[in-house]
Structure formats: C-alpha cells, structure tokens
C-alpha cells in the first residue's frame, strides 16, 4: 500500500538512473542516515565506543571485501593484513609529517594500501578460486610478520604498539584517546556514508560491470574485450583502498592503540568474510547488514543468558558462545545462502503487493 512505484514517472534519463529510483527507498535511506547521525545524542558511551564505531569500521571493510569477492569474484583471506597496512600507514603519515591533516592521512593510507593490494593481487592473474584464497593468506602472514619485526613501522616503539596521536579536524579532536566518542562516531559514519555511496555508483558503472563479467566467466569476458589484468588489479586496488581506510579508522577512531594481534586472521579476516557471506555477496547494503549482524551477535550472546537469569561460568561461556556462533553460521548458510540481501529482496516484493497480494 505504502511501498509501490506506481505513478512515479521518470521524465528524464537522469531520473531513471538515480541510485534509488523509487521515492520510498530514497526517503527511507535518507531517514536512516539522518537517524544514524543523531544517534550520539541519546546513545550512551559504551554503545558508541564498543559497538557502533566497531560496526561502522567493519561495515566499511566489508564493503571493500564485497567489491573484490562479490563483484569481481576474487576470493581473499587477507583483509586483516590490508587493514593493518592502512592503520600502520596512517600512523606513520600522521606522526612523521608535520601538520598532516588526519583526513588526508587516512585517504593517503588508503592509497598506500591499494598499492600493496595490487602487489598481492598480481598472482590472481594465474591462480583462481581456492588456490587464490590460500595464496592471499601469504599476504596475511607476511605483512603482519613484517610489522612485528621491523621497528620502523612503529617508530621503533619497544612495545610494538601504534597509538593514534590526537588530531583535530575543524578544531574538533577526532582521533586518539582524548577525542569524544561522538566525534569519532561521526567521523567513521561520514566515511562510511560517502564510501558506500561511491561503491554503489562504482558497481553500476563501467568498472563494476567489467568486474561482474570477470566474476561470471573470466575467459568469456576476455574474449569480449575486457582486459583481465586491468580489471582484476583495479578490483584489488579499490577493495584494498576501502580496507585500508577501514584499518586507519580502526586504529584512529575505534581502538586508539593496537598491536598486530588486532588484525589477526581470526579477529578480522574471517569475521569480515562472514559479514559479506551472511549479508549477501554482491550487495553493498548486504555488507552493512552483515556487519551489523556479526558485530552484534557476540554481544548478544554474552548479554542474553544473564538477562533471562542463567549464570554460566565465564570459561564455559566462551566455548558455548563459540559453538552457538558456529552453529548459527551453518544455520544461516543452509536457510539463506544468498544472505540478508536476498531476504530484503523477498521482503520488498512482499511489501509491494501488501495488503492485496492478487
């Protein structure tokens, strides 16, 4: 009744090409973004600090990985390493260059990560599928080892940690321990909104279409004139750029100070992979939903048993949490292998005809 496109006529080519051609979609998304911006006024610090900022950072990384895996079809398990490159590059840029604007530094570190991504994407021209997935693990282990071993990356800090220095944007502290959670939240949110918008446009354009052609069948794509070298490497570059920005935000706006541990395979690479699988491969909105799900689920699993009055010893709880997490993943894959994006599509179809389905 409320959600249908009947009567919304497109009178110009531009209207037809809008990101959200249906008015209701546009209003809903704008309302959601506006709501996200006012959340800090009534959310408490714990929620902002521990959950929402984490969600924003991972959502950005998930969009990055989804561009690579969902659109270009190149499986990567090296997300953690690319995020680490972003975080460490941003740290080096802000601490070693006097007067560097932190926003510029974050974008530059995305660029540096893109270069690293191209380097580790080179084997993708020869190697495909699971062989490539395992090959990207080389990036994961090598890069983290490098950051651990070479003191230059952490400014020869003996403890091996990088700590985000306090930096201001327009006179407001946005990074470091003194910055308010609100400022950090807004920074991350702005990055996420802008980059999600860019990604949505990228995948509708020439680049995105050539990625999808490569994903669906690379030999056929090559025959119709898409250059595999350029297409695959742009996919790696842009995906790594997103991961690098997410990594920089992770260090500067979320954690404040990190060791390489934080970018571990099991802390970052696999969770981000889960996000895009559960959210839906080849869907920007799906990546964001998936990130929300994977970030919220462990928190829910920790808080739910005490809420209904069950007290479990903490070491038990950790293992039970693991079991439930794994079981839920399997359950989701069985029920809806195409993820939240598909569920959303079904819901939309239902909504269009509701309440008169005939």
């Amino acid at each position: 009744m409320f959600y249908r496109e009947a009567g919304q006529f497109k009178t110009s080519y531009q209207d037809d090409q809008a990101i959200f051609p249906i008015l209701q979609d546009k209003v809903a998304v704008l309302a959601l973004v506006a709501f996200a911006y006012v959340i800090p006024f009534f959310a408490n610090e714990y929620w902002l600090q521990a959950i929402l900022i984490q969600f924003l950072v991972f959502a950005l990384a998930a969009i990055g990985l989804n561009l690579l895996m969902g659109y270009a079809g190149q499986v990567s398990l090296g997300t953690g390493a690319f995020m680490a490159v972003g975080g460490y590059a941003c740290y080096k840029l802000t601490t070693n260059i006097e007067g560097m604007n932190v926003i510029v530094a974050i974008l530059l570190s995305g660029g540096i990560t893109a270069a690293v991504g191209i380097l580790f994407g080179l084997p993708s021209l020869r190697i495909k599928g699971f062989y490539l997935a395992v090959a990207t693990l080389a990036a994961q282990f090598f890069i983290l080892w490098l950051f651990n071993k070479v003191g230059w990356f952490v400014n020869d800090n003996p403890s091996g940690t990088v700590t985000a220095p306090p930096r201001e944007v327009f006179g407001v502290l946005v990074s470091g321990a003194q910055a308010t959670p609100e400022a950090r939240y807004w920074t991350c949110l702005t990055f996420l909104v802008i980059f999600a918008w860019i990604a949505t446009n990228l995948v509708r354009g020439r680049i995105g279409r050539s990625w999808m052609a490569i994903r669906d069948m690379d030999i056929a794509a090559e025959i119709i004139g898409i250059r595999p070298l350029r297409t695959k490497l742009t996919a790696f570059a842009i995906s790594s750029f997103y991961c690098g920005v997410a990594g920089a935000l992770m260090v500067f706006c979320w954690l404040g100070s990190v060791e390489t541990e934080a970018f571990d395979l099991f802390n970052v690479s696999f969770p981000v992979l889960f996000m895009i699988i559960i959210g839906g491969l080849g869907s920007i909105g799906g990546s964001i939903l998936g990130a929300a799900f994977i970030v919220l689920m462990p928190i829910f699993l920790v808080n739910f048993p005490p809420m209904i009055g069950i007290d479990i010893a903490t070491d038990f709880q950790k293992h039970i949490e693991e079991i439930i997490f794994g079981a839920l993943i399997i359950f989701f894959l069985i029920v809806e292998p195409e993820g939240f994006a598909r569920l959303w599509q079904i819901l939309r179809e239902k909504l269009r005809t509701w309440p008169f389905p005939y």
């Binding site: 699971f130 062989y131 395992v134 090959a135 699988i277 293992h319 079991i323 079981a327 399997i330 069985i334």
Partner: protein
C-alpha cells in the same frame, strides 16, 4: 651490502663447509613434512569426494586429540580410548552429514567453505567445553630418544622416525583402500563425477559419511602424532593453517601431492629458518611456506599434482 651477503652468500658457504648440519636440517624437515602431510591428507580426501574445502580439518585434529586425552585422563587404557575416540569420530561424521552436508548439496564451493568454518568454531568450542582448555600431555608410548647417525654427526629423534613410519603406514593403507576395495572404487568414482556416480547407483550420502569418517581417523592419527610432540591444546587447531600451503603446493585433489608437498614444505621451512632466518630476524616459518607455495603456483596454477584445469566458454 651486509644484508645481501647474509642472504645470497653466507648461507651457501655454510652449507658447503658444514654439510652435516644441512643433512640434519633436511632430515628434521622431512619428519616435520610427514606431519604436515598427515593433516593435509584429511583435506584432500574430503575435497576429492565432495568438492568441499574443509577448513574444519584442524579443529577435527584438536577434537580427536582432546577426546583421546580426556578419556585417558579418566583412566581408560590406551586401546579402549583409541576405540572410543574412533567411535566418536564416526558419530561426528554421521552428525555432519545429517545436520549440514545434506542441506548444502549443490551449493557453491565458497558457501561450503564458509559452512566448514562454522563447523570449525563448533568443534573447537565443543572439544574445549567437554575437556577443558588447559594444555594436556599425551603419551601413548611412542619412544622419544635422540639417536645418532654417522657417529653422532647428525642428530635425530626416534619420535620423528616413528611418526614418519606411522605416516607411511597410513598412506599405504589409504592407497590400498582406494585402489583395491569396492568402497574405494566408489569413492574414486564420486570424486571423478558426482552425477555419473549417482546414476550408476552409488549412494552419495554413504560415500560422504565414509569420507568424513576416514578424514576423522586421519585427524585422529595426526592428533596423536602432533599431540605427543607438542601437547594437546588449542594451538593444535592452527596446524590447519600449516597444512594449507602444503595443499596448494601439492594440488587439492592429489593424495601423493599432499605427501610430496608436505615434504617440500617441511624441508624448505627448516632449511630457510636454519640459514636465512637470522638474516630476517627469525620466525620466518610462519609465512615462508606460503611464499614458497605461491612461487610454485605461479608456474603451475593447479599445484604440482592437481588435475589440469580445463575451462570452457
């Protein structure tokens, strides 16, 4: 200059002047390689029969070892504990087929892979929930003494030799099983072509249960060997990550590939750590295997013994 010297000159000079050290490294590498192969074998078996990249193999190793140790701590004799653990692994493969594989027929490889990562979490959690997460010693009587070869110029452990023998026995019995028994032939048929196998009346579900059982028993053997060497603990599950480069080096679909890949990785890793490790500041074995495998892959994208990838448009 010094760095380049340490990489390109010094190691080879050392190899020339002290060949016994090199020989020792190679022998140690071979025995480690056999242990990697044991883990990689489990991966290959499942990949061949169901096209599933089973990330949970490492967790299965941990689960089997934890069950064995737990039973032995409860006072069960070794033989009984072994039999019960095998029973548990069989039950596990039934459960996996019943609750997971059955519903995931015809899904993409990536979805199956993610499902096994889920299974990985479940098994790790379940194993540690039942038997606790502290380090346990596993001792089922494998002798562990140093032994001298060539008048003490090369040092080896009887343990490593025993592990190599166990690995060899396992591989030979698997080869016999695959080549000579009816079930083995059925397995190979399924590996070749699911649909063709189904159409001549091979029951796919039975095959899957069998394969997962065999992979479970291989995991048990790997768990025993690794567990007696380094204690049974959570990190045992991480040897799956050590087995992955072995897999891509040997090829996902080849049993001999898993063995030879394991040996190459084992030797390469030990020699690199022994000669080049100091120049890089140590601990290079974490990624060296991956880089080595990657270098091989650039020349042979399907691994050393993998089936040639033929693509049609």
């Amino acid at each position: 200059m010094e760095f380049l010297h340490a990489i390109f000159v010094a190691p080879f000079v050392d190899m020339w002047t002290d060949p016994f050290f090199l020989a020792e490294l190679i022998l140690v590498g071979l025995s480690t390689g056999v242990m990697y192969s044991l883990v990689a074998l489990g991966f290959v078996l499942i990949f061949k029969a169901s096209g599933m990249f089973n990330f949970a193999q490492g967790a299965m190793v941990l689960f089997a070892a934890l069950t064995l140790v737990g039973l032995m701590e409860k006072g069960a004799p070794v033989w009984l504990a072994l039999i019960v653990t095998m029973g548990v692994m069989v039950a596990l493969s039934f459960a996996v087929e019943r609750c997971m594989l059955r519903y995931l027929v015809n899904q993409e490889g990536l979805i199956l892979f993610m499902a096994t990562i889920g299974l990985n979490f479940v098994l790790e959690g379940a194993g540690q929930l039942m038997w606790g997460s502290d380090v346990k010693r596993l001792d089922i009587g494998i002798p562990d003494r140093p032994m001298d070869i060539l008048d003490g110029k090369i040092l080896l452990n009887t343990f490593d030799v025993t592990a190599a023998v166990i690995g060899a026995i396992l591989v030979i019995s698997l080869a016999v099983f695959f080549q000579k028994t009816a079930m083995g032939r059925a397995l190979r048929a399924v590996a070749d072509d699911h649909q063709a196998a189904l159409s001549v009346g091979i029951p796919l579900k039975t095959i899957w249960i069998t394969v997962w059982t065999i992979a479970g028993i291989v995991a048990l053997v790997a768990g025993i060997v690794w567990g007696s060497k380094s204690g049974v603990q959570f990190s045992l599950a991480l040897i799956a990550l050590k087995a992955l480069p072995v897999l891509i080096l040997g090829g996902f679909t080849s049993v001999p590939g898993a063995i030879i890949g394991g040996l190459i990785i084992g030797v390469g890793e030990k020699v690199a750590e022994g000669y080049w490790g100091p120049a890089f500041g140590g601990a290079i074995e974490n990624w060296f295997a991956y880089i080595l495998a990657l270098a091989f892959l650039v020349f042979r994208p399907q691994g050393l013994f993998g089936e040639k990838i033929i693509e049609r448009v």
